[in-house]
């Protein structure tokens, strides 16, 4: 089993045999023990727990024995779920998120939880509260998650643990969550595939919320085909999530291999502004050439309000986060300070429980929602969000999909942007618009920079057109492999 393992290969090898499923689990456990002391992608790793999880997997499921890495903000019955925060240390959910139930029903199982930025607040995974306190969380590395391609660099974030675990071969597939790029940007930095589905395509029930109008759970995988398989497993209406949408889930692997002739791809000129790395531009240009060769018509388009996406996002996402995180007050979940008065307990639990970036965002969100500032900030941002949506509506009148870089830069070194919040936020400038508009978007590897760091390109499509995304991403992936 030393070669690249696709979901199909793993499932084919196991062919419903429990002993073989255990073989596969031991193989990946061996990889975790071998590689993770340098990478630090996994949290709460436990060889007894994953066996218990495997017992929950439906033996007649289509993907029996498929081990899944799960971002630590997705609720998993029996597994500690901390959002990589001190405030949730010790919290074990009494239930599985809907996506996890669906994984078990299809024969897959929770193999490990993955490290992340605290509450998904970050773009480098450096804000994990377990960064440097590994012993507390059954983590193999006593430091931040590293990029497996070059361990001096960050894996991106916030789903950095999920992306690094997949890229390092410690798990075959993983789940992440994406509020402003948290699946796609780390996928791009680590050289793997990451999909943010249409808002409402996948149930958020059991996802510990960050920005409820933006969050989506999605797959991080080594190939487009595996991403299609994973979306098929997790997608669908869920009565427990009133924002999930009741439209049928197509067979996403069906569209793989379909030609692209006659398709129109739009490349927005605003995505090539100052501050974009030349390595990134080169790879996107090559991607454009590949698409032309595949018979696609490439058009220059305009998404005129792109530069406002980051400020809009940091008002809306923090406003929603500050309300969502109000529940962490020491009463029910995780950490509680030992104070004698209720008020002191709230104030001190939250001071000790949240890290600096979480505090920054809670304060910003509280401010933009506060009396006297609501209209000037929050409402203004909601109106500007409408303009971003209109930009996409106009663009999709002339093209089928939109091609952009996933991130303006390559992966960066630890500490490089840690003390400059705005520089860190700008690393999501190209991924945020899809969350604001609720459209699906994928990051696909597009080759390496001169220094050997991965570059990803992003493909966006109209609402619920994941099939078109898979079709184009698969054709691109296949063609790139030939080079």
């Amino acid at each position: 089993m030393e070669k690249f393992l696709s979901v199909k290969e793993i499932v084919g090898y196991i062919s419903s045999d429990k002993n073989k499923a255990l073989d596969v689990a031991s193989y990946f456990a061996g990889k975790v023990k071998e590689i993770d002391p340098a990478v630090g992608a996994v949290l709460h790793f436990d060889e007894i727990k994953y066996r218990v999880s495997l017992d929950k997997a439906a033996t007649d499921g289509k993907y029996y024995g498929l081990p899944v890495g799960v971002k630590d903000n997705i609720s998993t019955d029996g597994w500690e779920t901390t959002c990589a925060s001190n405030i949730l240390t010790g919290y074990i959910p009494p239930y599985d998120a809907t996506v996890i139930e669906k994984i078990y029903e299809n024969g897959g199982y929770v193999f490990t939880k993955c490290d992340m930025d605290e509450f998904a607040f970050g773009s480098s995974s450096e804000t994990s509260a377990y960064n440097g306190r590994a012993f507390k969380q059954k983590k193999f590395k006593d430091g931040p998650v590293a990029n497996p391609v070059n361990t001096e660099y960050v894996p991106g974030g916030s789903s950095g643990g999920s992306a690094a675990a997949v890229a390092a071969g410690e798990v075959p597939v993983a789940l992440g969550s994406d509020t402003g790029g948290s699946i796609r940007q780390p996928a791009s930095f680590c050289g793997v595939v990451g999909l943010k589905p249409t808002y409402g395509r996948v149930s958020r029930y059991g996802l510990i919320p960050f920005g409820s109008s933006l969050d989506q759970i999605g797959p991080i995988t080594k190939s487009v085909e595996d991403a299609a398989v994973m979306l098929e497993i997790i997608a669908g209406y869920d009565e427990k999530d009133s924002t999930s949408v009741n439209i049928p889930v197509p067979d996403y692997t069906d569209c793989l291999g379909r030609g692209l002739k006659g398709m129109k791809i739009g490349v927005p000129k605003e995505y090539f502004s100052d501050g974009i790395s030349n390595d990134v531009v080169d790879r996107v240009k090559e991607a454009v050439e590949i698409f032309k060769k595949l018979g696609v018509e490439v058009l220059e388009i305009s998404l005129p309000h792109t530069k406002y996406a980051v400020p809009i996002y940091y008002v809306i996402a923090t406003a929603e986060a500050s309300s969502n995180l109000a529940r962490f007050d020491g009463v029910q979940y995780g950490y509680r300070s030992g104070d004698k008065s209720l008020s002191d307990m709230y104030f001190n639990t939250r001071e000790a429980g949240f890290g600096k970036e979480a505090k920054r965002r809670i304060l910003l969100g509280t401010f933009v929602l506060s009396s006297g500032y609501y209209d000037a900030y929050y409402k203004r941002a909601q109106k500007a969000r409408t303009l971003i949506i209109k930009d996409f509506k106009e663009a999709f009148k002339v093209c089928d999909i939109i091609l952009t870089p996933t991130s303006p830069t390559l992966s960066f070194k630890f500490g490089e942007k840690e003390n400059d919040p705005i520089a860190m936020y700008l690393s999501d400038v190209f991924t945020i618009p899809a969350n604001l508009a609720g459209i699906p978007a994928i990051s696909v590897p597009a080759g390496l920079s001169k220094d050997g760091l991965p570059v990803g390109v992003q493909i966006m499509a109209p609402h619920f057109k994941e099939e078109v995304i898979f079709q184009t991403a698969y054709a691109f992936e296949t063609e790139l492999k030939k080079r």
Partner: protein, 97 residues
């Protein structure tokens, strides 16, 4: 606008203490972020409808039938003893003597 930002008032609203040093550096960060966010005042948004949700959602009705949900036994079995009594969460005294 940014001068009006009062970190003590906001941290009180957020029910979150901040140490002196932390308060100082967060105030600086938030000032910078807010002045960046003020870019949005360039836009003419007079006649634009705000978006709070991106997909059409309809109200969902269902029959009110009893079914098994998360059980209190399981829930309380997972949390530490000093936090609950019976099926109730226990908190410090609210009414002063």
């Amino acid at each position: 606008m940014e001068n009006e930002f009062n970190i003590d008032a906001i941290s009180k609203l957020a029910r979150m203490n901040l140490s002196g040093e932390e308060s100082e550096s967060l105030r600086e960060d938030l000032r910078n972020i807010l002045s960046y966010v003020n870019m949005l005042s360039e836009l003419d948004l007079e006649d634009i409808e705000p978006t709070s949700h991106v997909v059409e959602i309809e109200n969902v009705f269902r029959d009110d039938v009893v079914r098994e949900s998360h059980t209190a036994d399981k829930l309380f079995g997972l949390i530490s003893d000093e936090k609950y009594e019976g099926y109730f969460f226990k908190v410090p005294k609210i009414i002063e003597e």
